[in-house]
Symmetry: C2
Subunit: 156 residues, 2 copies
DNA sequence: ATGTTATTGATAATGGATATCAATAACATC
DNA sequence: GATGTTATTGATATCCATTATCAATAACAT
């Protein structure tokens, strides 16, 4: 198969001694083209029209690879499947957290007060790693509630 | 079967028009007797010696009921199964967050700086509900990292 | 004590994710 | 550009947490 000539990601894959294959390129492309938080199956469905022989197994494996490379974040919004987003995507607040509707699972990204949040998070990381000896590598901050639509439905 | 005469929970079940059954009482007891964050199967294993005919299905259903009643919190530490804790348990910081080892899934509860955290959370809840029209009902705050033991293993 | 009905638990089924393994494609080397 | 090595793929089977079904049972209002 014709190899991917070169892309934004060639270097990152080289560094990790991984091959930049057609499926991997297409999967990153799909994540780069949306602001949604896609499940593995949704990624599969969006790659399929462009590359019909893609396998769902490959999507799962590739998303794992991308998470380990630090290119993709794995998210959990409580709907029994992992969801994925590019760590850095143009047009998205670089560091953001999520507001999740516990009924319909709609997700809103926010970065209001992110400076204050990050400042407190940094302080907590320092205190917790000293107190408990953890090497802290990340955090999850999300708010749960009812989106406007689900709030209206609940009223009826 | 002999009914549960009366317990700390009689009132709560009455209010919700639910029956306080033997399995339900035993499951709450198990959660009240530990500081661990138990999975459904772990709850089942701890009830079984006291009540051998308990069914795993009942444990799942009961945990759901308790979560809906607001007596129990459902937690997700990324190990592919839900975990549960009493919302209020003596000897536990009333409001706390979690520090999770991403390798062995060990969990540490913390409440350092909880006042500051809660203050910022309150502010964010207000701002987000105004901006996005969500009715916010809860939040998830957790730190991820490597516990001392897993840090040592990684060095080797 | 009795009747109604919520609850239980054995069983089967669902669905997201992973293990297996022969076929294939990426790419380092020449 | 051709070649050989080997990482990667994808069809398939399987795992495992959780849920659906439904007849039997137990809680509790009366
Ligand atoms: Mn996001
Ligand atoms: Mn806890
Ligand atoms: Zn909603
Ligand atoms: Zn650990």
């Amino acid at each position: 198969m014709k190899q991917v000539r070169s892309s934004e990601w060639t270097g990152a894959f080289k560094q990790h001694r991984l091959r930049l294959t057609k499926p991997r390129q297409l999967i990153v492309d799909v994540l780069g083209a949306t602001s949604d938080h896609l499940s593995a199956e949704e990624v599969y469905l969006r790659v399929h029209p462009k590359y019909a022989r893609i396998g769902l197994t490959t999507v799962y494996r590739t998303l794992d690879v991308l998470v380990r490379m630090g290119i993709v974040s794995r998210l959990d919004f409580g709907d029994a499947r992992s969801r994925y987003e590019l760590v850095e995507r143009s047009g998205k607040p670089s560091h953001h957290h999520h507001l999740v509707c516990s009924s319909c699972k709609r997700v809103v990204e926010y970065d209001d007060f992110m400076d204050e949040e990050v400042k407190l998070i940094k302080k907590l990381e320092k205190a917790l790693s000293r107190k408990h000896g953890f090497g802290i590598t990340g955090h999850v901050v999300q708010f749960l509630g009812l989106c406007p639509a689900c709030k209206t439905l609940a009223r009826a």
